[in-house]
């Protein structure tokens, strides 16, 4: 059978890469998003170039200079053993980025894959994955963290592992719910009727519809994971000293809040900057990914 051709005259027009530049223009037009991007870039810069930009060695103990208030010599002051806090804060961004960004990124990736599989795949797969998510949900975070850290030792990898295990079901559930809601929508049926396969539907049609809220959720979780590390440090389950984690600085300051209040400030400022940066950037990204919220520029 010869396929009947429904043909229309096709005229090819060269297209410039103006879509990409429109994306950048949009970001530049959103002051909060731009601020968020700058703050996140600043933290990334500190993390990448910490060893070159710290004014002092962050591990150097200088007892005569202990508990100095902020001055031009020590921008954020010094702690109880004479560490330069400014240098430690800059060096600490590495730990924060690995714990916060890397572990959230890994959880997002795992949650996305598991959620799409549960939402779009067969019913039995959904049931198995849901059972796993609920089991993880039902464990208290700190208890499991304690157990895992006792077994594997307290180091960076263990903390990333604990975060990934706990965050993955959160994202997977969100992705699963959105996928289920979308799976039977008419546009997915329409795409299938035009010959799109499962991979194409997931990647091109379902994914763009759910990454927006997922990005926002992920970017807002980055700071809370950094504080989780801080909390574990408080229980001496975090990154072992002398590593300069922000949480450790914060909790040392907590115990000396009356005689050396600058230590709390030094630990808090980078956390606030990171939180605001990721939140602003996340919200701005969500608006950019949702065509209905997108402003015409």
């Amino acid at each position: 059978m010869s396929a009947p051709a429904f043909d229309v005259p096709v005229v090819t027009i060269e297209r410039s890469g103006f879509l990409r530049s429109r994306m950048i223009r949009r970001l530049l037009g959103d002051p909060l998003g731009l601020l968020g991007l700058l703050l996140v870039l600043a933290v990334l810069f500190c993390g990448l170039f910490a060893d070159w930009i710290t004014p002092y060695d962050p591990f150097k103990i200088d007892v005569p200079d202990r508990l100095q208030p902020p001055s031009l010599i020590h921008l954020m002051g010094t702690d109880s053993v004479g560490h330069d806090l400014f240098s430690r804060v800059i060096k600490g961004s590495q730990i924060a980025l690995i714990v916060g960004v890397l572990s959230i990124f890994l959880s997002l990736a795992a949650g996305l894959a598991a959620g799409l599989a549960a939402g779009y795949g067969p019913r039995w797969l959904d049931n198995i994955l849901l059972l796993i998510f609920d089991t993880i949900y039902s464990f208290p975070v700190v208890m499991l963290a304690l157990a895992v850290i006792t077994l594997l030792g307290s180091n960076l990898q263990t903390i990333v592992l604990v975060v990934v295990v706990f965050q993955t079901p959160v994202y997977a559930r969100l992705v699963r719910t959105s996928t289920l809601a979308m799976k039977n929508s008419e546009f997915i049926l329409a795409e299938r009727s035009l010959g799109a396969g499962a991979v194409r539907i997931l990647a091109r049609h379902i994914l763009p519809n759910i990454v927006g809220p997922l990005f926002v959720l992920g970017s807002m979780d980055v700071p809370s994971v950094i504080t989780l590390e801080a909390g574990l440090s408080f229980l001496s389950l975090g990154i072992p000293p002398p590593a300069p984690s922000w949480g450790r600085i914060l909790f040392e300051g907590y115990s000396r809040i009356f005689d050396a209040p600058w230590i709390v400030v030094a630990g808090g400022i980078p956390l606030i900057i990171t939180t605001l940066g990721f939140t602003f950037l996340g919200e701005s990204l969500r608006d950019m990914l949702d065509p209905k919220l997108r402003r015409v520029l």
């Binding site: 329409a190 299938r192 799109a196």
Partner: protein, 323 residues
């Protein structure tokens, strides 16, 4: 059944599993779409029109079971095909336009992205695919298509979106286009425009159309053949001329009387068919239309009527047609 049918459905029965038991959505449905023709399916809500179109595309929901019959697309049974075979058919040899244009396009992708993406099987450059999408949009009457390809679905009106959906369906030059109530979600003016567009396309488009509607007027305007579906059964089918000038099934007659467009006399009340569509959890053993039929007689309540040929292409599932 004519040998040269692009789609031929034979004795199709489909059930839906529900918590209250199986719903017999389609029972012993047979129809054919001859090559190059437009076949209309008419029926009330719940008569199985959409089930029929989804079954033809191989897109039945999970709770549907095929109890019997075959759906032959160009001689091959859609019901026994694997996923890969179905996908090879969909889009390139058969395509579908859905009822509600507000929900049948992906809200977060531009029209251009959707239309170029679905051409993924063509070996052509991105620019060529985009140009083809623009040309197809121009053909279905979207002004300034090169610019509008960058727009998102919510930036178009309902009528425009349905044109876009039709353009997407035609991108793969299918042999069969199934249009499932493509105008139901639109107002009357837009409905007329879409019908006009389909008629125009029909002249150029060498394929066939299976047009599903509950509006007899549209079917009369557009189609060559009509299939009247009632409670999951084909009660009558034939050419448009046969059905509209000499309906032989009392249900078809009643439908024609009830069509608001055909009522000449000024009256206070619209004519209606008394009674309700039967509950398809328990299908009556006799004629399905008997409880509502104005011409019902004793035999109708006792015995299921067969399909009786009453014209060159016309047949009716009614005891009255057997005489």
């Amino acid at each position: 059944m004519a040998a040269d049918s692009v789609l031929s459905i034979e004795g199709l029965s489909i059930e839906f599993q529900t918590p209250r038991g199986p719903v017999h959505a389609l029972r012993d449905v047979s129809l054919a779409v001859p090559r190059g023709s437009i076949v209309g399916i008419v029926g009330e809500s719940g008569s199985g029109k959409s089930t029929l179109s989804l079954a033809a595309m191989g897109l039945l929901p999970e709770n549907a079971t095929v109890r019997g019959g075959r759906i032959l697309f160009d001689g091959a049974d859609v019901l026994t095909m694997g996923t890969a075979q179905l996908r090879a058919l969909r889009g390139r040899r058969m395509a579908m336009v859905f009822q509600d244009p507000m929900t049948s396009l992906n809200p977060v992708l531009s029209i251009g992205a959707q239309m170029t993406d679905i051409q993924y099987r063509e070996r052509a450059s991105a620019a060529h695919k985009r140009a083809k999408a623009a040309a197809m949009l121009r053909r279905v009457g979207i002004p300034d298509p090169e610019q509008r390809l960058d727009n998102f679905p919510h930036e178009f009106s309902g009528g425009m979106r349905q044109r876009i959906a039709i353009a997407m369906g035609l991108l793969g030059s299918p042999e069969l286009l199934i249009a499932d109530e493509p105008t139901t979600a639109l107002d009357v003016t837009l409905e007329a425009q879409i019908i006009h567009l389909l008629r125009e396309l029909r002249r150029e488009f060498k394929g066939s159309i299976l047009f599903i509607s509950h509006n007899l007027g549209l079917i009369a305007e557009l189609c060559d053949h009509v299939v009247v579906l009632y409670a999951g059964e084909v009660v009558e089918q034939g050419t448009v001329r046969e059905i509209f000038h000499g309906p032989r099934h009392p249900y078809t007659e009643a439908l024609l009387v009830c069509d608001p467009a055909r009522i000449d006399a000024v009256s206070r009340e619209l004519p209606t068919i008394p009674g309700d569509v039967p509950n398809l959890l328990q299908v009556p053993a006799a004629c399905v239309f008997a409880p509502r039929c104005p011409k019902v007689f004793e035999r109708c309540r006792r015995e299921r009527p067969g399909d009786h040929a009453v014209g060159a292409a016309q047949s009716a599932r009614c005891h009255l047609a057997s005489a």
